[in-house]
Amino acid sequence: MSPSPPSSASTTPKIQALALILPLFRRYWLRVFFGIVALLGVDLCQLLIPRVIKLSIDGLKSGAILPHGLFRYGLMIVGLALGVALFRYFWRNLILGFSRLLERDIREQLFSHLLMLDRTFFQKRTIGELMALSSNDLASVQLAAGMGLIAAIDAIIMTVAVLMFMIYINPTLTLIALSPLPLLALLTKILSGRLHKRFSLVQETFSNITEMARSTINAMRLVKIYSREEEQTANFDRLGRQYIKHAMRVAIIQGLLFPVSGLVANGSLLLIVIVGGKMAIDNLITIGDFIAFISYLFMLVWPMMAIGWVANLFQRGLTSLSRIQAVLSEQSLLHDDGCSATLPASINSIELRALNFSYSGQQGQGLHDISLTLTPGLFGLVGPTGSGKSTLCHLLARLYPVTEGSILINGVDLNRIAIKDYRQAVAYAPQEAFLFADTIAANIGFGRPDATLKEIEAQAEAVGIHDEIMHFKGGYTSKIGEKGVMLSGGQRQRISLARAMLTRAPILIVDDGLSAVDAGTEQQIMRAILEYSQTNIVIMTSHRLAPLAQAAQLAVLEDGRLTALGQHHELLAKNDYYRAIYQKQTEPGGGEADAA
């Protein structure tokens, strides 16, 4: 569904960004068209009101008007006001509604697109950045497409029309009265541009304060234990003072921006009173013209400010749009192009051939020249922290594409298997047991939405968490998260494991999934995993050797290289690292002085 924009070098990113919203204008063109028509109606009615005022005052001055006539003028004004109200109702609904439809459509497109991107992308962008695209950036696009569009059209219509009326009354006076107004547009543009920048700084500092408050409260135990109260208060004070500074910088602009419009408008008024007053004294214009002129002048103040404001709004909207467009044009490194191979129902071998891998940044340990073959059964992966165990799991789970060397599934190159097919065949319990803020049942059944409660319970039983779940007030329907039950690290790991095992996928990857589970429970879980591995390939990493001792095959990774391969007793005999940690972890009689 994602458009793959041809990256022709001639088009600038901003123009490409416009290509994102043009289809939306096309989709909703009727709405936009009638919205603009309604806007014209509003402007017309608004312009006619001062004409009526002028007519009535001139009539009064010449004495040619009767009370009856005055009443008619009054009615006309009310009628026009009703027209304004009616048309305004329509444009607000049509055009502002359009901007919300546009916002909805882009947000949806963005979300669907994000779901297709691979891990390399998510390592480049933080969640906060992506959230900002959906909230702040999209909001500025929406503002530009809604209020911005309206203000621009309105300002142009009003300026032209008011100018015409004014010129009709007296061209010279018009020219003189308007001379300060371009200054207003300019000042507004400069000031509101500054305001926006400074205001984002205020918001940033505000969120820093919020974040500091949050992290302090969350780490309250540590703050108390380490007696950090004074330092934390001092840091908080510093942030607060920063906030004051930035807020003041905003206040200065605000203190200028709004009075400036009054200043310029009153400057114009002054010119009208001087020059127009003289003209009226010399009977060059009527007193009615004079008063209407003043009304028109005030009508121009808003469009002039709007021009400055809209210029900024469009600029910001476009910048935001191109930021969104940049993400939408990202392509996943994992794709189904040329994936013709089909995956057999039963998988009986995974072969790694001269596998090399390195991350683009410095996020983790790469892999060098790994070759090995996995068959159904438990495969244990051990090695010091940062030796590349998780990296190997990531590649087997196909979070990254294989670029050097190859992984063969039943002899078929992994890169040639459709992503969905392969994912269906792999269940994965990552190192960080991530759970969704949903019910426990939904979390366990995440990979199998069709699973019955019975199956879910049986799986929970197998990983030794059923009893604990039943202890929660809501049982399996308890929600996880701040408003629901808070789970311990071991509980999270077991639910994550149950989620993976419930899929009964032919390949199961468990990346350090039992580190927070106590010894008794661990034994129980290992029984379930060994049973699973009878017919399936199970890949498991662990810091502790005990659970892996029964593995059909064990591999030691050190610095991204495979340094030993074999069964438990073989490794004990031939690998120094393995032997050393085994002794450390098991020998109850040895190392008397080691403790403490």
Partner: protein, 597 residues
């Protein structure tokens, strides 16, 4: 855009007539009396100049422009004099306006800063049980949004209420003085406007709140989906996620459209009233001009003042809802400020302690009725090394929590060097205990800052500590060595490295009591061995408490305590306990069995 970390608070409305609350809020302004008085003076200036301008226009029309009785030159001269005054007014108004806005912002920001600091300090004094009871989001809201609400009230509301109130009254007086009957007619419109505005502002606030809540829903859904994206992809749940997202997104749009509708009905209504007022002036006022009961200038001024007449009313009613929520915020803030911590500290600060600790008949539970400790008796001699073992939930960490006075036992007495723990100064007490736990608090700064934690440490000693904590190799690998920035935005340390850092931190403080609570759980076995060796001397010379899952790591303890169901089940040396064949032996064998398999 604010995300409240997934927490939404039901917005409540404060009682605007609560005089006691008002007095308390205004008390915070007292230190800034002078600024406030000056701001009031400036506000009056702004209003006066603003109102003078239409008056000057009126004078210009009546006395000079339409006054055929005067000679042309005199009329022009008068006009030019008038314009000078006009210009002066404009400039004075502008300057006063600017000064007022900035002065009030400055004053209000300082008041709020002061309040926020007090609140933060108060929060730090609260006991741990309080934080367990209260969701984090709620407390964060006190410090952020609630303070913000009050700030908004101080700057915009009090100002507008004052400015607009005065302006409104002034206009009313002027209108009455120009033409009483016409003015009374205008006043008949006021109830309509006020009712309309109050109803509108209430509906608008509800609509806005609904939008904000929905946006927070979208944001938390998005945040969660992005955090768990590899799982969604892996378990092929993309379609489902998109469907859910579409639903939330659609709902958000629907709420926005409702707000648009609301505004498009109510905003034009004011305009209609405004035009009706002008129509009335023309019809009725024009009639009076015809009957020569009113001048043109007066008529023009009346129209001009009417324009100013509607603005303050609009603003006042708009601000009403802000006042309501600010009052509610104030109430919540004061509630927290008034809360006395349940664990007050004492005065005692012994010069040097020996480190003898005793727990006598201790009962404790985090959540009634599940007791964690039930009748615990434990004495640890000065300089002794005691290991505490037991299954998950047997109360190991709770003992530490009580010793640190993070919680208070419901019964029993804890003493240090024979003095009741409650008599000690809290900060002093916690400084005597060096605790290494699994969680590590990183402060923004370099690795060195994080190790020293504010203490002065010589380079030699620091080097020695790095060696002991097995950090030398880690430091060597860092891009800027020990000066490398770590934590958020800086270099990301692994969990194991962070534990080594916590160890180094305790070594810097060199306390008399050392507690290692699963301190090496995330460190690989090789490093762990080295750390243990390096720490041996330090542990020997202090009162030490060790808590560890892996029983092999506690062999060197003088005494091992086995906790079961909140009291001591067995105690003795490793060998004694093993030989006795009780709970400890079962635990050891469980681990050994597993390993041997």
């Amino acid at each position: 855009m604010q995300h409240n970390y997934g927490f939404f608070e039901e917005e409540t409305l404060g009682d605007v007539k609560d005089a006691q609350l008002w007095r308390r809020i205004l008390r915070y302004g007292r230190p800034h009396k002078r600024n406030i008085a000056f701001a009031i003076f400036l506000a009056l200036t702004v209003i006066a100049t603003g109102l003078a301008l239409p008056h000057l226009t009126k004078v210009a029309i009546d006395q000079y422009i339409t006054n055929d009785a005067l000679a042309r030159s005199e009329r022009l001269l008068g006009l030019s004099h008038l314009t000078m005054t006009f210009l002066l007014m404009v400039v004075v108004g502008f300057v006063a306006n600017f000064l007022q806005v900035t002065l009030l912002e400055w004053t209000s920001q300082n008041i709020m800063h002061d309040l926020r600091q007090r609140l933060f300090a108060k929060l730090l004094q609260q006991e741990m049980a309080f934080f367990n009871m209260t969701p984090t989001g709620k407390l964060v809201t006190r410090l952020s949004n609630d303070i913000q609400n009050m700030n908004e009230m101080f700057t915009s509301v009090i100002v507008t209420l004052f400015n607009d109130g005065v302006q409104f009254l002034a206009i009313l007086v002027i209108l009455c003085s120009i033409n009483l009957r016409l003015a009374l007619m205008m006043m008949a419109l006021i109830p309509f406007i006020i009712i309309n505005l109050i109803v509108f502002s209430r509906l608008a606030r509800d609509a806005f709140r609904a939008i904000r809540t929905q946006l927070a829903m979208i944001n938390s859904f998005l945040q969660e989906s992005l955090a768990g994206i590899s799982l969604i992809q892996h378990f092929l749940r993309e379609d489902d996620a998109v469907l859910k997202f579409k639903r939330e997104n659609q709902e958000y749009m629907r709420k926005n459209l409702r707000q648009i509708k609301l505004f498009s009905v109510f905003l034009p209504f004011i305009e209609i009233l405004n035009s009706t007022a002008i129509a009335l002036i023309i019809w009725y006022g024009g009639g009076q001009v015809l009957r020569a009961q009113m001048s043109f200038g007066e008529l023009a001024a009346f129209i001009a003042y009417m324009r100013l007449f509607f603005k303050p009313m609009k603003e006042i009613s708009e601000k009403y809802s802000i006042v309501q929520s600010a009052m509610a915020s104030a109430e919540r803030i004061f509630q927290l400020l008034d809360r006395d911590p349940a664990i007050p500290g004492g005065q005692r600060k012994n010069g040097a302690i020996s480190g003898q600790i005793s727990f006598t008949d201790i009962y404790f539970s985090y959540k009634e009725p599940e007791p964690v400790l039930a009748g615990l008796d434990l004495t640890i001699a000065a300089g002794e090394t005691v290991a505490i073992v037991g299954t998950t939930g047997s109360g190991k960490t709770t003992i530490i929590n009580l010793l640190e006075r993070l919680y208070e036992p419901s019964r029993g007495r804890i003493s240090l060097d024979g003095h009741d723990l409650r008599g000690f100064d809290l900060l002093w007490l916690r400084q005597q205990i060096g605790l290494v736990i699994q969680d590590v608090l990183l402060i923004p700064g370099s690795l060195r800052d994080n190790i020293c934690f504010g203490a002065e440490v010589s380079e030699d000693r620091l080097r020695e500590i790095l060696v002991k904590a097995q950090l030398t190799e880690v430091v060597r690998q860092l891009p800027q060595g020990i000066l490398t920035l770590i934590g958020e935005g800086g270099y990301e340390l692994s969990t194991g490295q962070k534990q080594l850092l916590a160890l180094a931190r305790v070594l810097v403080r060199d306390p008399m009591i050392l507690i290692l609570d699963e301190a090496t759980a995330n460190i690989d076995s090789m490093t762990e061995m080295l750390v243990e060796k390096a720490l041996r001397a330090t542990v020997r010379s202090r009162t030490s408490i060790l808590i560890a899952h892996r029983l092999s790591t506690i062999r060197g303890a003088d005494r091992i305590i086995v906790l079961d169901r909140g009291r001591i089940a067995e105690e003795g040396t490793y060998q004694q306990l093993f030989d006795r064949g009780g709970l400890f032996r079962t635990l050891v064998e469980q681990q050994r069995l597993q390993a041997a398999k």
